[in-house]
């Protein structure tokens, strides 16, 4: 019941709607570019793996293993990049529809997906920072042990 309560004087008026429509258009464009980028990464992953596996110096040292490893790493990268791109696309579609049909539910869903985009990148950045911290700690430990 409380969820439906309105905040005083706050609406998405024509100016706000225009801004949200602009956000949705550019977000949709960026998400489509993101999908294309993901596709390119997957294609590169498949070809890079095959290419490295076929190179003779690597082939003698288990090149197929290196190729498969590169393919897997690239595909994981593409999968990670695909998630926020999908959220962004869903957000853009829902926000656009919400403005066009004046649909409150779609507006909330669109904003929820926008939140998910920022949440995803925030968490990913923390993970990357943690990996950096671990690398630095292990490097320092290694240096101390070597010294």
């Amino acid at each position: 019941m409380e969820q439906q309560s309105l905040l005083p004087d706050l609406t998405i008026d024509s100016i706000g709607a225009q801004q949200i429509r602009g956000i949705a258009s550019w977000a949709k464009f960026l998400s489509i570019v993101g999908f294309v980028f993901c596709g390119i990464i997957v294609i590169v992953a498949l070809f890079a793996g095959t290419l490295i596996a076929s190179l003779s110096p690597y082939n003698q040292m288990g090149g197929s293993g290196v190729g498969a490893m590169i393919t897997i790493v690239y595909i994981i990268f593409a999968a990670i990049y695909f998630i926020p791109t999908l959220f962004l696309f869903q957000s853009a579609s829902k926000l656009k529809s919400a403005i066009s049909y004046t649909d409150q539910v779609l507006l909330n869903e669109g904003l929820g997906k926008l939140k998910a985009v920022f949440q995803f990148w925030g968490i990913m950045t923390i993970i990357i920072l943690s990996i950096y911290a671990l690398v630095i700690i292990f490097a320092l430990l290694g240096a101390m042990m070597a010294g």
Binding site: E2, Q3, Q4, S5, L6, L7, P8, D9, L10, T11, I12, D13, I15, G16, A17, Q19, I20, G22, I23, W26, A27, F29, L30, V33, A98, I99, T102, D103, Q104, L107, N108, L111, G112, L114, K115, F118, Q119, W121, G122, T125, I126, I128, L129, Y132
Partner: protein, 142 residues
């Protein structure tokens, strides 16, 4: 009469209800948080790269004018990337802050300004993506 007109208007407009405000606040919080953490990450990377580059430069001081030009070019490139990232992160932080204040103070102008800031962020991101895609296409065609 005015009340009736206002009610009719609000029926045609999207409202900021508790759920909408919650999603907006969360989006703004994560945008600010991500931007600040990302800023720290970029500063860390720039510091490490700059330090390694500076040390490399110190050890090869007598490489001649060509090396100095290359060093200046790399420093300029780093400065441009940092400036661009700084602008984008500042836009995200600004979006988050305006959204938060807009909801907390029931300020319609701040709410609209927050959306305008996010739009600018996406426009710059989109234009840079287009330039990057064209650049990549040209480099592939060469």
């Amino acid at each position: 009469m005015e009340d009736i007109l206002s009610n009719e208007n609000s029926m045609l407009e999207l409202q900021v209800d508790a759920a909408t405000a919650d999603y907006m606040e969360s989006a703004g919080w994560w945008a600010r948080f991500g931007a600040i953490v990302c800023g720290v990450l970029i500063l860390l990377v720039v510091f490490v790269v700059g330090y390694l580059f500076y040390m490399g430069q110190e050890t090869s001081m007598n490489l001649g004018l060509g090396a100095n030009n290359l060093a200046s070019f790399i420093w300029l490139a780093i400065a441009l990337v940092v400036a661009f990232c700084g602008l984008m992160l500042a836009l995200l932080v600004s979006f988050g802050l305006k959204l938060k204040r807009g909801i907390e103070q029931y300020d319609q102008e701040k709410l609209e300004s927050a959306f305008a800031t996010l739009k600018i962020y996406f426009i710059i991101y989109g234009i840079v993506t287009i330039i990057g895609a064209i650049g990549t296409l040209f480099s592939l065609l060469k």
